[in-house]
Amino acid sequence: MKPLSDEAVARLAELASKPEVPGGRYDVLEKVGAGGMSTVYRARDRQLEREVAIKVVRDERRPGDLAQRLRQEARILAALEHPSIPPVHEIGELADGRAYCVLRFVRGTTLARAELGPPNARLRLFLRLCEAVAYAHGRGVVHRDLKPDNVMLGPLGELYVMDWGIAGALDRTDPGAGGTPGFSAPEQEAGAGGAVDARADVYALAGLLAFLASGRAPGADGALALEDLPRPLAAVIARGRERDPARRQPSALELARDVAAFLDQEPVSAYREGPLERAGRFLSKHRFVAWLVVGYLVLRALVFFLYRR
């Protein structure tokens, strides 16, 4: 008898691990991602004839905890109705006891891998991200794991904030709340002991802003490379990355306001500019009118020299 190849074994293992959702409503098509907590599959909803994502907890470690987390994530998503937050359709338990939830299947690519376009387009993308996060804060939810891998961009430019697995209620003291080194706020670290509120997401958003503006993600120690950025934008990022939450922008909207002001060539709250910088910004903002005035003066000089009496 011929032994099975490694490929065949891997294929069989994949087939065996495909979840069987009770009721037969979903055809699981393929595995599209896996994280520490769960595996995500693309599936077809037979009833509504659409594609969905099925998130199933991994069963290797602490299945009870993970199931609890997945249910919590589903409840949080159910409470958040926003175009940039994928809705949850259903939660339940597979035949083997693993918890699952059915979500909108989001097509596209993560911010970490996407072609992001020119700098101003990236900053406008960031404003939309802030809007979604601010909405969640308004509903009393902190994401706590904002990073380029958890933001998806759709083919038509839609933006989705994904993976609300460690999201939690505002002001909850939750030491060791997890997150990603480089993006998660210092108060999220194990043993920090402080309450994690919206300003933890502001810290992560500032890291995302640095990534979008410079193309470089913060280092695992939180270090940023801001040298090449315009000073006002670098100051906005630096304020959002303060270790002390009280020194950061108080909300995602406040951070977005500063970025919008930067885009509109208005002064930003995080940076005090000198008179020369102010004049430069004014001229840059109104450069077309400035060029028109210069053109007018040139014409005036031409008339003077050509018709001198």
Binding site: H286, F288, V289, L292, V293, G295, Y296, L297, L299, R300, V303, F304, Y307, R308, R309
Partner: protein
């Protein structure tokens, strides 16, 4: 800044510069220079006002510039028709910059400035 205020400001500044340029002409009596600057500023203000009001009502870059040029021409022609004490006229020296001022103000008021809503 509203379109009318932008027109007034830009018209006044360019008009004042326009008037001050008269100081470079030897044929212009120096004791009349301030009067020319005031008059030119007023001319710029009127052009800016007309362009600003037009921009508030109609959004058309081409027409906005045309209105500025025409108003600038009419006002400058009226000023240039007044002879100097020695009887000479400064048609080109006054009308050409006046029309250019109108074009600049017409463009700026169409492109920039807020439309005030009631």
């Amino acid at each position: 800044m509203s379109k009318v205020v932008l027109g007034l400001l830009l018209g006044a500044v360019l008009g004042a510069i326009d008037g001050a340029c008269a100081g470079f002409y030897d044929a212009v009596p120096k004791d009349q220079l301030m009067g020319i600057v005031y008059g030119s500023t007023f001319k710029g203000l009127l052009t800016g006002l007309a362009a600003g009001f037009f921009a508030r009502k109609w959004r058309s870059l081409g027409l906005g510039i045309l209105v500025g040029v025409v108003v600038g021409f009419v006002l400058s022609f009226a000023v240039a028709s007044m002879p100097m004490p020695d009887g000479t006229h400064f048609y080109v020296e006054i009308i050409l910059p006046g029309m250019a001022l109108g074009a600049v103000v017409g463009f700026a008021t169409q492109r920039y400035g807020r439309v005030q809503t009631a």
